[in-house]
C-alpha cells in the first residue's frame, strides 16, 4: 500500500475545467471519499489517479513514484467501476483472474488466488457463472474481488454502490468498510451520496466545479461546514440556509424572507471578520438545532406550519418563513399539537454565519 498525492492538478475538456488546481494527499491505509454533485470533477480526479486521463498540469504520485504521465497499467492501482465492468463473455473465474492473467501469472496460481479471494468475498460458489447469471450484489462483490485479487498499491472506487437497491447498498457498504479495515488499503472512493461518504471514509473531500470545497473527517465536515456549498451538501435533510442582512444600528440580523429581526446575541462574539452595515449574509442552521414554540423570543423568528412528516423516531416539520421553507427536526415519536403560527428558536451556539462570498465567518 502506498499513499497517493496530487499536486495542483488541473484537467480541462475543451472549455470546461473539470479539475481545477486540486491538491490532495491520501495517506497509506486511508480511505478518502470524493464527494460532490455530478459534474463536480470527482470522477475525473479518480480517473486522473488511475491514469485514464492525463492532467494538463500538476503532478500525481503513488507512493514515492511520480505517475503523472504513466499509462494505467504501470501505476499498479485497482479500480471498481460504477457499472462493475464485468465482462459478459467471461465467467467469474476469468473475470476476477483477468488482472492476473494479463500480468502473466501462471494458470494454477491464478486459480488459487481467485478462489481464495472469492471465498473471502463469499462468492466462491459462483466462479463458473457469467455475470448475467448472478445478482447485482454478487456482481458488485465480483468486481471488488477483481480489484483485490492482485495486491495493488491503491484502490479506486467509482460509485461502486450506486447501482444497488437501498437495502443491498447498506449491506455492501458495511462489507466494504469491513474489508477496507481488515485489508488496510489505501483507497479513493467517489460518491455523490453523502451518507455513504460519511459512513465509509476516514476523510471526505467535498468538490464542486472542479475545486475542493473542504477536506476533513466526516464529523468535521458535518459539524463545521466551511462554506454554504458544503453546508447545503452535507446532512439529510440539509442545513437550512437563510439569506439575511446585518442591521448594525439595531444590532440585529434581518431575515430576508420575512424581515424578522434576530438578535445577534451570542453570535456576535464569534464573528471573526469585520462586517459593515447592510452586508448580505447567510445564516445556516441544521434542522435539529431549531425548536418550535408558540411564543416569540430573542432568538426566534415567526413562521407558519407547512407540513409535518412523522418518520418514526423523529418528526420532520416544514415551516414557511416568508417564501422560504425551513426544515425542523424534532426527536420525538409523537409531536405535541402546534398552533398554525409558530416561532422558530435557533440554537445560536450551533448556528453558522456565512459571508457574502459564501465562506464561513462564524
Amino acid at each position: 500500500m502506498a499513499q497517493i498525492t496530487l499536486e495542483n492538478v488541473t484537467k480541462t475538456f475543451g472549455a470546461v475545467t473539470a479539475v481545477d488546481r486540486v491538491s490532495l494527499t491520501i495517506a497509506e491505509g486511508e480511505l478518502v471519499a470524493l464527494l460532490g454533485p455530478s459534474g463536480c470533477g470527482k470522477t475525473t480526479t479518480l480517473r486522473l489517479i488511475a491514469g485514464l486521463e492525463i492532467p494538463d498540469s500538476g503532478r500525481i504520485f503513488i507512493g514515492d513514484r511520480e505517475v503523472t504521465r504513466l499509462p494505467p497499467r504501470e501505476r499498479d492501482v485497482a479500480m471498481v467501476f460504477q457499472d462493475y465492468a464485468l465482462y459478459p463473455h467471461m465467467n467469474l473465474m476469468d473475470n476476477i483472474g483477468y488482472p492476473l492473467k494479463v500480468r502473466g501469472v501462471p494458470r494454477e496460481e491464478l486459480r488459487q488466488r481467485v478462489q481464495e479471494v472469492a471465498r473471502r468475498l463469499q462468492i466462491g460458489d459462483l466462479l463458473d457463472r457469467r455475470p448475467s447469471q448472478i445478482s447485482g450484489g454478487q456482481q458488485q462483490r465480483a468486481s471488488v474481488a477483481r480489484a483485490v485479487v492482485h495486491e495493488a498499491q491503491a484502490f479506486l472506487f467509482d460509485e461502486p454502490l450506486s447501482n444497488l437497491d437501498a437495502k443491498l447498498r447498506l449491506e455492501a457498504r458495511a462489507f466494504l468498510k469491513h474489508l477496507q479495515h481488515t485489508e488496510g488499503v489505501t483507497a479513493a472512493y467517489v460518491t455523490h451520496d453523502q451518507a455513504e461518504a460519511m459512513a465509509l471514509a476516514d476523510r471526505i473531500v467535498v468538490m464542486n466545479h472542479g475545486k475542493i470545497m473542504q477536506i476533513g473527517t466526516p464529523l468535521d465536515v458535518y459539524r463545521n461546514p466551511q462554506n454554504t456549498f458544503v453546508a447545503a451538501f452535507i446532512g439529510n435533510p440539509p442545513m437550512n440556509l437563510l439569506p439575511c442582512h446585518l442591521d448594525m444600528a439595531q444590532g440585529v440580523l434581518v431575515v430576508a424572507a420575512n424581515q424578522a429581526p434576530l438578535d445577534l446575541g451570542l453570535l456576535r462574539e464569534r464573528i471573526r471578520v469585520a462586517l459593515k452595515d447592510g452586508d448580505s449574509l447567510t445564516l445556516g442552521v441544521r434542522p435539529e438545532n431549531i425548536t418550535l414554540g408558540a411564543e416569540p423570543g430573542p432568538a426566534a423568528i415567526p413562521g407558519k406550519i407547512y407540513v409535518t412528516q412523522p418518520l418514526g423516531g423523529e418528526t420532520l416539520v416544514n415551516v414557511e418563513v416568508g417564501d422560504q421553507l425551513v426544515s425542523v427536526r424534532i426527536f420525538t415519536e409523537e409531536l405535541p399539537p402546534l398552533p398554525e403560527q409558530v416561532w422558530l428558536t435557533l440554537d445560536l451556539a450551533r448556528t453558522f454565519l456565512y459571508g457574502p462570498d459564501g465562506e464561513r465567518i462564524v
Binding site: 488511475a50 497499467r73 501505476r75 465492468a85 465482462y87 463473455h89 483477468y98 488482472p99 494479463v102 477483481r146
Partner: protein, 276 residues
C-alpha cells in the same frame, strides 16, 4: 412475452406475414422448382417429372464444380476474413481514438468505394493488379474486393464497437492489459455478432462478384461460379435453363447455409445504435 393483443390484430399480423412472405418468396419460386424439373422454361410449376439429372449433369462440368467448391470458397472466404479482420481493427481504432472528422471520413470512404467499385475503375484496378503481379491470382481478387468492401464494413462495424461500454476497456487498462490484450480478450469477443454481420456481408458480396474476377482472372481453373454459370450455355450462347437453374441452386445454397448458421449462432442483426 404475454401482452394483450386483440384477435383482430392477431389476424392482421398473420395476413401481413403472408403478404410480406409472398413478396419475398414468389420471385424465388422458379429457383426452387426448376432445378428438379426435367423440362424447364421460365414457368414455375410443380415438376411433372421430378429429377436430379440436372444436378448430375452439373457435376460433370468439372470447371463449374471447381469454380463453386474451390475458387468461390477461396475468394469469398478470403475476402470475408480480410474484410472482417481489417474492418474490426479499424472500427475499433476509430471508435476508441480521437481523430478529428472521423465521421465524415467514413462517409467519404464509402463514396470513394462506390466510384472504385464501379466499372469506370476497371482499368486502374487491372493495371494496379498487374504491376503488383496479382493478375490471375485469387489474392488479387481478394485484395481488390476487400478494398471496395471495407468502408461500408467499417461503417456497419462501428456501431457494434460503440456499444461496448468504455469501462470494460478502462478496467482492463487499469488492471494492466495492453491494447492488444484488450482487443483480443475484450473488444473482439464482445463485437463478435458485429463481426459475424460484416463477415457475412463481405462473403456474400465476394461470393456473387462477377466484374472484378473477369477483369483480374484469366485461367478457367481460377474463375468463380458467377463466370462458370456461363458454361451452362448452349453452343449458340443461350442459357440451358435446366442446368443454369440447377447450378444457380447449388450456387445459392452456401450463402443461405452460412446465413442460417450465423443467425442461429450470433443472431444476424444490427445494433440499434446505428446513429451517426
Amino acid at each position: 412475452m404475454n401482452r394483450y393483443e386483440s384477435p383482430l390484430a392477431r389476424v392482421g399480423i398473420v395476413l401481413f406475414t403472408m403478404l410480406a412472405a409472398s413478396f419475398f418468396a414468389l420471385p424465388l419460386l422458379w429457383l426452387a422448382t426448376a432445378p428438379f424439373d426435367a423440362r424447364v422454361n421460365l414457368t414455375v410449376h410443380i415438376p411433372a417429372e421430378l429429377t436430379l439429372d440436372n444436378f448430375r449433369a452439373v457435376f460433370q462440368n468439372s470447371f463449374a464444380v471447381r469454380a463453386l467448391l474451390v475458387n468461390n470458397l477461396i475468394i469469398a472466404g478470403g475476402a470475408m476474413l480480410t474484410v472482417a479482420t481489417v474492418a474490426t481493427l479499424a472500427s475499433y481504432g476509430l471508435s476508441r481514438t480521437r481523430i478529428p472528422g472521423r465521421d465524415i471520413l467514413v462517409y467519404v470512404l464509402i463514396l470513394f468505394s462506390s466510384v472504385v467499385g464501379g466499372t469506370a475503375a476497371m482499368v486502374p484496378l487491372f493495371l494496379l493488379a498487374y504491376h503488383l503481379g496479382l493478375v490471375d491470382t485469387h489474392i488479387g481478387v481478394i485484395l481488390v474486393m476487400s478494398g471496395g468492401l471495407l468502408p461500408s464494413a467499417i461503417f456497419i462495424m462501428r456501431d457494434f464497437v460503440d456499444t461496448i461500454p468504455r469501462s470494460y476497456e478502462e478496467a482492463a487498462l487499469v488492471f494492466g492489459a495492453s491494447p492488444l490484450h484488450i482487443f483480443r480478450d475484450i473488444a473482439f469477443p464482445l463485437v463478435r455478432p458485429g463481426v459475424a454481420v460484416v463477415a457475412i456481408w463481405a462473403f456474400v458480396n465476394a461470393w456473387g462478384a462477377f466484374l472484378i474476377p473477369v477483369v483480374l482472372l484469366r485461367s478457367p481453373h481460377n474463375m468463380p461460379a458467377s463466370v462458370a454459370l456461363y458454361s451452362f450455355y448452349s453452343e449458340a450462347g443461350t442459357p440451358v435453363h435446366t442446368l443454369v437453374a440447377a447450378y444457380a441452386f447449388l450456387y445459392t445454397i452456401p450463402v443461405l447455409v452460412l446465413y442460417l448458421i450465423v443467425n442461429w449462432r450470433f443472431g444476424f442483426r444490427f445494433f440499434g445504435g446505428i446513429k451517426r
